[in-house]
């Protein structure tokens, strides 16, 4: 980070090109806004194939993450994500707390004090790998991974072709949303929905849906 002042460093001619501490914080705040706005939808999705608490749990977790960021003002994006992960683990409950929490912590660790789009690509990849490892899930099992894996691939592809942070995040958000929608015809193989067997078919996975919101939030806060 070349600048320690609170609101500079990210914006170059109005464009947000780096994930510095300020942008990372804005990301988490935006995640909380989107989760809040979609709390009922997440709860309804979860009531259909799970136990109906995903909206409330995520709301509690991200609200705690935002409150913690307001208190401690971490100096780089890596620490912002690490703090977010810790709060998600501490406050969310359910499977999503450890999964998202570990994902954000590993992303934060990978990012450290780097800020450029390539570093963000590696951080998102670390998030995906840690969630896959902890949850023991792979794609097409109707989980978070079905939204996050295509999002990470799209982010890497766009940034690899020279796309900036917003372009990569936008491509990732679209891929995550497509991935979440693509869970509808899948039969759940992991998590509580797996108990439903074939009855889980025909419904969007709430974890994939919340993942799509998390990635969409990154696209929102990096928009010019």
């Amino acid at each position: 980070m070349g600048c320690t002042c609170q609101y500079a460093g990210a914006a170059v001619g109005g464009l947000i090109v780096n994930l510095d501490a300020t942008t990372a914080r804005a990301w988490i705040v935006r995640v909380a806004e989107l989760i809040h706005a979609n709390e009922q939808r997440l709860t309804d999705l979860d009531a259909t194939i799970g136990d109906g608490d995903h909206g409330a749990n995520m709301q509690r977790g991200v609200a705690a993450a935002v409150a913690s960021l307001e208190e401690q003002e971490p100096e780089d994006a890596g620490k912002v994500l690490n703090s977010t992960g810790r709060e998600l683990i501490s406050k969310t409950g359910g499977a999503s707390g450890p999964l998202y929490g570990t994902g954000f912590r590993r992303a934060g660790k990978e990012l450290g004090d780097e800020v450029d789009v390539q570093a963000v690509a590696r951080a998102l990849e670390a998030m995906l790998r840690s969630i896959e490892e902890l949850g023991g899930a792979t794609q097409e099992e109707k989980t978070i991974v079905d939204a996050l894996a295509p999002a990470v691939a799209a982010f890497q592809e766009t940034s690899g072709q020279g796309g900036d942070l917003h372009a990569a995040a936008s491509a990732a958000a679209e891929a995550a949303e497509r991935g979440a929608a693509a869970t509808i015809p899948l039969q759940a193989r992991k998590g509580r929905a797996s108990y439903l067997g074939e009855r889980s078919i025909g419904h969007e996975d709430p974890g994939a849906a919340s993942t799509a919101l998390i990635i969409r939030a990154l696209a929102d806060v990096t928009a010019p």
């Binding site: 009531a47 136990d51 406050k91 409950g93 992991k190 509580r192 797996s194 108990y195 067997g197």
Partner: protein
Amino acid sequence: MKKLINSPDTVITDALRGMSAAHPGLTVDVENRVISRAQRASDKVGLVSGGGSGHEPLHGGYVGHGMLDAAVPGEIYTSPVPDQIIAATKAANADRGVLHIVKNYTGDVLNFQMAAELAEDEGIDVVSVIMNDDVAVEDSTHTAGRRGTGATIVAEKVAGAAAEEGADLETVARIATEVNERSRSFGIALHAGTVPSAGRPGFELADDEVELGVGIHGEPGRERGTFGPARDLVSYALDAIHADLSISDEVLLILNGQGATPLIELYGAFAEASAWLGGHGAAMVRSLVGNYITSLDQAGFSITVTSLTDELRRLWDAPVSTPALRWGV
């Protein structure tokens, strides 16, 4: 929907305040949501369990001499978080190691796993036993595996008794594991329970329908079935258990209510269960009838059968003094 609550937001806090007021033998940390023995045990393996709230008396009602040292309630139907579990582990630790008894749900397993790793970092030996006694769902690589249900009570009781006798951590864990291996459960719901914050039943059942193999969070089981007399429903449950683990010899049978089924109906069902066992050459040498692992106000029942050994029977009979199980003291 009418519920005897102040508000959906305070259900757990209010219940913990009530437990604290009702049971002087417990220390209830209402803010951090840890229930532990008021009189800390010394020189024994500690036992900790926990899970989502809504299953009362599980787990807080099983804290006390002869069973758990501490329990952690999560939000309704939601796993507790690692901070709670670590606090409970510390409260239970008497330098002989701590056993975590965990019901097999992804959230519970992950949160207890994170807590166990953090507790180990602080120098506490932790061994976890995962309970997965529910035969309703397939145990395969294609699902999250079988769910932990009624056998958890048996594991907490007999492992607790072993710990009280001075058994080491390995032995206490072995006994809890043995209970899991020798137990099977099956539940049937007549009417869904209502999570207070949701305000409406978790699922809909028509008047002539039952959910066969229902989980303790109201999650569906094998299939929707046709409603019938208690005799038929009990037979269905016991047949399902029997198909998975042959029931013979001496068994412990728990006829458990899911929260909104009156005791008179549970006793009627118990009579059918007793007759079924007699017809299959099994001897019911120990039993419980009542609400021991509930699903809020879900109507229905579950049956847990544990095939006893001499050791398990002796440990089951050992003195216990908790809010929900009390004998021999």
